[in-house]
């Protein structure tokens, strides 16, 4: 039987293979090994943490502390250091534990690294991968649950990848590390434990390409990360009502794959987007505006954006569940669309 591993293991394997392949690749971030001064851990090829989610676990034992670097809690310090190292020839993979901590280190991403190539007349490259986590559903409340991939996606010079499963996570991460650009690789913390068939070899999944995950003829639903599963559930439900849904996993949030989305709309004539981010100035609204501009003639109805509400992420479990786009919530929008289809 084909090997199934978790998204966490797939990311770990990608990091290991990238480090095997290229000596300039190294990991840097808080608690990447953990227990930075505890010697027995090194001898036993073990890590105390491997990042707080355990994703980089075991790599310190194999590659040593020079290539799996623990940092102090100093996001601006280590992000800037990574940008500087990348601009001078190394290939750092930074872990920013939660994307919510971006406030401390946005400067080095927004006004330094992302602009270097352009400002320097194409003479610089910044091969930096920033691994981070996003997403609600873990009870982590307002300062640890945001979904800010759209915010990164608004920065010219930065690519943003959001995998929905272990297979794509491995291939996209290997592509990201080989890229000569800054790539934000955003992991949904609630997907890290989900399993998928993942080949053992080194393979890449192309950045900037979306995948049609389910074919359909009545409506296209574009999803980001975990929202894929909401759309697939919905598609099952709607099939019973004889509505045929095409589901696209966007995978790269910036630059996103306009061709695949437009091709699909040509077939279905309708578009809904499910995005866990807050509802304004996000990836969903970007897609809606581009499609409104470029594919208006193929549309038979309004574009629907289904997002989180315009609030921070609440703590109480019942409120957090309401916050997340889920099948019930999406059903409301779907019903409107079905009504529309019948006319």
């Amino acid at each position: 039987m084909a090997r199934q591993i978790t998204m966490m293991q797939a990311i770990n394997e990608a990091l290991e293979q990238a480090m095997d392949k290229d000596e300039n690749v190294f990991l840097i971030g808080e608690d990447q090994s953990g227990g930075a001064t505890v010697e027995h851990l090194e001898e036993e090829n073990e890590d105390a943490f491997g990042g707080v989610f355990g994703v980089t676990s075991g790599l310190m034992g194999k590659f040593g502390r020079e290539r799996v670097m623990d940092t102090p809690i100093a996001e601006n310090g280590y992000m800037g250091t990574a940008v500087g190292a990348a601009a001078t020839g190394l290939r750092p993979v930074v872990e920013l534990m939660f994307n919510d901590f971006i406030g401390y280190c946005l400067d080095t991403i927004l006004t330094q690294g992302s602009k270097m190539r352009y400002m320097f007349g194409g003479k610089a490259k910044v091969p930096l991968t920033i691994r981070t986590t996003h997403g609600a559903g873990a009870g982590a409340a307002a300062q640890h649950s945001g979904s800010y991939y759209g915010l990164f996606g608004a920065i010219p010079g930065v690519k943003v990848v959001v995998p929905s499963n272990a297979y794509d996570a491995k291939g996209l991460l290997l592509s990201a590390i080989e890229e000569d650009n800054m790539v934000v690789f955003s992991e949904d913390k609630t997907l890290l434990g989900t399993k998928e068939v993942v080949p053992e070899d080194y393979y890449k999944v192309e950045i900037g390409k979306a995948k049609v995950k389910r074919e359909g003829t009545d409506i296209t639903i574009v999803t980001i990360g975990k929202m894929l599963y909401v759309a697939l559930d919905l598609a099952e439900k709607l099939e019973k009502e004889s509505v045929s849904v095409e589901v696209i996993d966007l995978m790269t949030v910036s630059p996103w794959d306009q061709d695949t989305v437009i091709e699909s709309i040509k077939k279905t004539g309708r578009l809904a987007i499910i995005d866990e981010a807050n509802p304004h100035n996000n990836t969903a609204t970007d897609i809606a505006s581009v499609i409104g501009d470029k594919a208006f003639d193929y549309l038979d109805g309004p574009i629907k954006c289904i997002c989180a509400p315009d609030t921070p992420v609440p703590f109480a479990s019942n409120l957090e569940q309401l916050y997340l786009p889920n099948v019930d919530r999406v059903m409301d929008t779907a019903s409107e669309i079905i009504e529309d289809l019948k006319q």
């Binding site: 808080e30 608690d31 953990g34 227990g35 930075a36 001064t37 505890v38 851990l41 073990e46 105390a48 943490f49 707080v52 623990d70 940092t71 102090p72 809690i73 100093a74 996001e75 601006n76 310090g77 919510d100 901590f101 406030g103 401390y104 873990a138 009870g139 982590a140 409340a141 307002a142 300062q143 640890h144 509400p309 315009d310 609030t311 921070p312 609440p314 703590f315 109480a316 479990s317 019942n318 409120l319 957090e320 309401l322 916050y323």
Partner: protein
Amino acid sequence: MKKINKERAKWILQKMEDIRHFEAAAKKLFAAGDIPGFVHLYAGEEAIATGVCAHLSENDSITSTHRGHGHCIAKGCDLKGMMAEILGRKTGLCKGKGGSMHIADIDKGMLGANGIVGGGITLATGAGLRNQYLKTKDVAVCFFGDGASNEGSFHEGLNLASIWKLPVVFINENNMYGEGTPHQYASSTETISERAVAYDMPGETIDGKDVVAVYEAAGKAIDRARKGNGPTLIECLTYRDHGHFEGDEQKYKAREGKEKELADRNSVDEFKDYALKEKLLSKKDIENINKQSEEDVQEAIDFAENSSIPEPESLYEDVFAE
């Protein structure tokens, strides 16, 4: 600064016991799956919050950390409201929207636990600015960890407080670890207090397991701040008895030498011995305080468990002030 008298001693022991009992309850509730998210326990470090807050009134402000239950209790937050908050109930201090990492009660001068490491440092500086601006005699106290002292906010916040001579006291809780990374690895200086030199303010390292030592050092610094003489940095040496969060295996801990010494100490018992010796409290007092605290925490649990969860509409409330 007043010496610890009987009334103070009672207050201090009561708060220390409340923290211990509250944290023991939180540990149990978390293990039972009743608390969503993460829980970072403070028990073992209670001498710091209580020794400092013993000097504060509701007009003074504090900022806290992700390990904030102890600071909340010492600053007078309601145990029932706190327990309801960490269980995500609508009767919680933040209506169930903040949880353990964000408990706050502005009316009590508690400006919030904080999910962002170092997030409170500049906020305390801001509260200090307010006090100076309005010519009050209030102070702002910032609690922060050894890990937080490596964030840029520490350096910027202390510099600002110093150039404007703001009434702020920076209380560093050096429990030796920031998650799995030891202070000795993460910091270029052996002590955090010596960094005060760079910001031209007094700095000292004290025994953070000894509530009396904390009380005395904090008292001096707070007096200094109230008199308009500017900020102070106090590093309290302590130990993180618990994991970084509940469930952390703590494979990175050494538990030797000084670490073991600190880990083996019990601030609450030490204070009881002190209070008995100084005749500030009787054995009976100590028993009563313990009993009272147990009851109060149980009452808080009952209150929280019997409270309802937030109404769905509340998801959309309090985004903006009306």
